[in-house]
C-alpha cells in the first residue's frame, strides 16, 4: 500500500516495470529514492495533517467544558501549549528520535533539525509523498498525545512543571514508542503488531500515562468519588465534534495515500464512532434512566479511540461491533471501577483512551482481515490466532513502558520543581493563579 506502485497501471507496462525495479532497489538501500510523488496522495496527507492538528484544540474544548469555570483557561492553555512546545520539539529532534534509522528501540539523530528530510519521498515510510509531508503528519500525532494526558491531572497541575513534564514525556516516552511501532527496525513493527493509526502509541500510551499521573498527583481537593458538574457541556460537545471531524485525518490519513485503504479507514471510523455514541447513550438509559449528551459524546470519542488501530484492517461490520462494545468497557471503567478504586482521573483520560485503546488493539487481533488490506494480516476470526497474541504483546509492552517511564519522569519533575499547585491556588483556580486571567466576567 505504501509503495504506491500498484496504481501506476495507466502507464505503459514496461515503464511501470522499470519504475517498480527502481523503487525496489531504493527500498533495499533504504535511501531517499527518486520515487515519484503523487499529487493526490500528497494533498490528502497534508489535509489530514491539518485535520489532526484541529483535534488538539478540539480536545481542549472537550476537556475545557468538563472542568469548573475557574480552571477552563488552564486546560485550554495546557492543550495549546502542547501545540507550541511539541510542535517545535518534533522538528528539532523528536522526529529524528522516532523515525530516523536507529536500533530496535529508538531512532538515531541523523534527522535532527530535519536534516535530509525534504521534498524527496522516503519510500520506507511513504513512497509517493514528500518526506516532509510524512514528518508533519506524524508531528500532529506527537502533539495530541501528551495533550490527552491533560485530562488526568486537570485542575491541579502547576503550569511551569507541566511544560517540563510534557517535553520530557514526548522525548522519552512518545518518541521511542513511536519508533517501536512505526520506525524502520522498531521491534513491535518487526514482530508484526498491527496498529493502523496509533492505538498503542497514542491512546494506550497516553491512557496509561494518565492513570499514573492521576495516581501520583492525588485527588483534587474536595473530590470524594463524585465528579464536580462540568461547567459548560456545549463546549464538550463542540470539542467532541471537532475530534470526530479531525479523526478522519488521523485514521484515513494514516493510509498515507488517497486510496481504497484510506476510504475503508474513513468508513470504519465513522461507523465505530456512531455505534459507540449510540451504545453509551443506551447503556446510560438502561442504567441511569436517561441518556445524556455528555454520555453520547464520551461514547463517540471512545469509539474513535477503539477503531484507531483497526481502521485500515477491518471492514464495516467489525467496526460497528468494536464501537458498540467499547462503550460498555469504558462506561464500566469510568462509572464503576474508578469510584471503586478511588483515583481521580479528572476527565477520564485513562477510562476512555486507556481502556478504549486496549480494547481496540486487541480487537484488531480479532477482526483484522487481509482481504481488507493486503499489507495487514488476518486476525483470530479469520483463522490467525497468533495475531491476537502479537497484539497482546504490543499492548503489554506499551503498558509496562508507559507506566514505568511516566512514573519516573513525574517523580523527577516533582523532585526538582513540584508538580502540584499550592492548596490555596487550587481552590482559587488555575486561571487566576497560573495565568492571571478569568474566562468569564459576571457583569460586563
Amino acid at each position: 500500500m505504501r509503495n504506491g506502485i500498484v496504481r501506476r497501471s495507466l502507464l505503459p507496462g514496461a515503464l511501470a516495470l522499470l519504475l517498480l525495479a527502481g523503487v525496489g532497489v531504493a527500498h533495499a538501500e533504504g535511501a531517499a529514492a527518486p520515487a515519484k510523488i503523487d499529487s493526490g496522495d500528497t494533498a490528502w496527507v497534508l489535509i489530514s495533517a491539518a485535520l489532526v492538528m484541529l483535534m488538539t484544540p478540539g480536545l481542549a474544548f472537550f476537556y475545557g467544558g468538563m472542568v469548573r469555570r475557574k480552571n477552563v483557561l488552564g486546560v485550554l492553555m495546557q492543550c495549546f501549549a502542547v501545540m507550541c512546545v511539541v510542535g517545535l520539539q518534533w522538528v528539532l529532534f523528536g522526529y529524528s528520535l522516532a523515525f530516523a534509522p536507529g536500533n530496535a528501540f529508538i531512532g538515531g539523530l541523523s534527522w535532527v533539525g530535519l536534516h535530509g528530510v525534504g521534498a524527496a519521498p522516503y519510500p520506507d515510510y511513504a513512497a509517493t509523498i514528500p518526506h516532509q509531508a510524512f514528518m508533519i503528519f506524524q508531528g500532529m500525532f506527537a502533539v495530541i498525545t501528551p495533550a490527552l494526558i491533560v485530562g488526568a491531572f486537570a485542575e491541579r497541575m502547576k503550569f511551569s512543571s507541566f511544560l517540563i513534564f510534557t517535553v520530557l514525556w514526548s522525548t522519552f516516552i512518545y518518541d521511542p514508542m513511536a519508533h517501536w511501532v512505526w520506525g524502520m527496525g522498531g521491534w513491535l513493527r518487526n514482530l508484526g503488531a498491527l496498529d493502523f493509526a496509533g492505538g498503542t502509541v497514542v491512546h494506550i500510551n497516553a491512557g496509561i500515562a494518565a492513570l499514573v499521573t492521576a495516581l501520583v498527583i492525588g485527588r483534587r481537593k474536595g473530590y470524594n468519588g463524585v465528579a464536580h458538574p462540568p461547567h459548560n457541556l456545549p463546549f464538550t460537545v463542540l470539542g467532541a465534534a471537532l475530534l470526530w471531524f479531525g479523526w478522519f485525518g488521523f485514521n484515513a490519513g494514516s493510509a498515507l495515500a488517497a486510496n481504497g485503504v484510506a476510504v475503508n479507514a474513513f468508513v470504519a471510523t465513522n461507523s465505530a464512532a456512531a455505534a459507540a455514541g449510540l451504545s453509551w447513550a443506551l447503556v446510560e438509559w438502561l442504567w441511569n434512566g436517561k441518556p445524556t449528551m455528555f454520555g453520547a459524546v464520551t461514547g463517540a470519542v471512545a469509539g474513535l479511540v477503539a477503531i484507531t488501530p483497526a481502521a485500515g484492517y477491518v471492514s464495516v461490520v467489525p467496526a460497528i461491533v468494536i464501537g458498540l462494545l467499547v462503550s460498555l468497557f469504558c462506561f464500566a471503567a469510568v462509572s464503576w471501577i474508578k469510584p471503586k478504586l478511588g483515583y481521580d482521573d479528572s476527565l477520564d483520560a485513562f477510562g476512555v483512551h486507556g481502556i478504549g485503546g486496549i480494547w481496540g488493539a486487541l480487537a484488531t487481533g480479532l477482526f483484522a482481515s487481509s482481504v481488507v488490506n493486503a499489507a495487514g494480516a488476518d486476525g483470530l476470526f479469520f483463522g490467525n490466532a497468533r495475531q491476537l497474541l502479537v497484539q497482546a504483546a504490543a499492548v503489554g509492552a506499551t503498558i509496562l513502558y508507559a507506566f514505568a517511564g511516566t512514573w519516573i519522569l513525574y517523580k523527577i519533575v516533582d523532585r526538582f520543581f513540584g508538580v502540584r499547585v499550592e492548596e490555596k491556588e487550587e481552590v482559587m483556580g488555575l486561571d487566576l493563579t497560573q495565568h492571571r486571567e478569568a474566562a468569564y466576567t459576571v457583569l460586563e
Binding site: 490555596k424 481552590v427 482559587m428 487566576l432 492571571r436 486571567e437 459576571v442 457583569l443
Partner: protein, 113 residues
C-alpha cells in the same frame, strides 16, 4: 427570627456549608455576587495591560433562623469562612418580621425550620 446575610470568599463555600450542616442549619440560599471591601482585588493581565481593583467574586449566603440558632449559625460561618486574610467577608444580622411557607401557608417561626 433573624435573617443572617453573609458575604464570603467563594472558595470557602464548601467549608461553610459543612460547618452549617454540623450546626444543624440546613436551609440556605446562595448567590454569586461582586464586590470588595478593604481588599483591592486580584490583578489580571490582558495582552500586557494590567487590570487591578476589579470587583471580586464573592458568595452571599442568606439564612433565616429562629433565635436559638442565631449564634450557632454565626459561629459556623466564621469557622468555615475564616482564613485570617483580608477579604474573608462579613456577616450581617437583622430582624426578620415574618416568614411564610408557600406550600402550607404556615407563618412565623414554625415556617422557618
Amino acid at each position: 427570627m433573624k435573617l443572617i446575610v453573609a458575604i464570603i470568599q467563594p472558595h470557602r463555600l464548601d467549608a461553610v456549608k459543612e460547618a452549617l450542616y454540623a450546626a444543624e442549619v440546613n436551609l440556605i440560599t446562595v448567590s454569586e455576587v461582586l464586590g470588595h471591601g478593604r481588599q483591592k482585588g486580584v490583578t489580571q493581565i490582558y495582552r500586557g495591560a494590567r487590570e487591578s481593583g476589579n470587583l471580586l467574586r464573592k458568595i452571599r449566603l442568606e439564612i433565616a433562623v429562629n433565635e436559638d440558632f442565631v449564634q450557632p449559625t454565626i459561629d459556623a460561618i466564621v469557622t468555615g469562612a475564616r482564613t485570617g486574610e483580608t477579604g474573608d467577608g462579613k456577616i450581617f444580622v437583622m430582624d426578620l418580621v415574618n416568614c411564610v411557607r408557600i406550600r402550607t401557608g404556615e407563618s412565623g417561626g414554625v415556617a422557618i425550620g
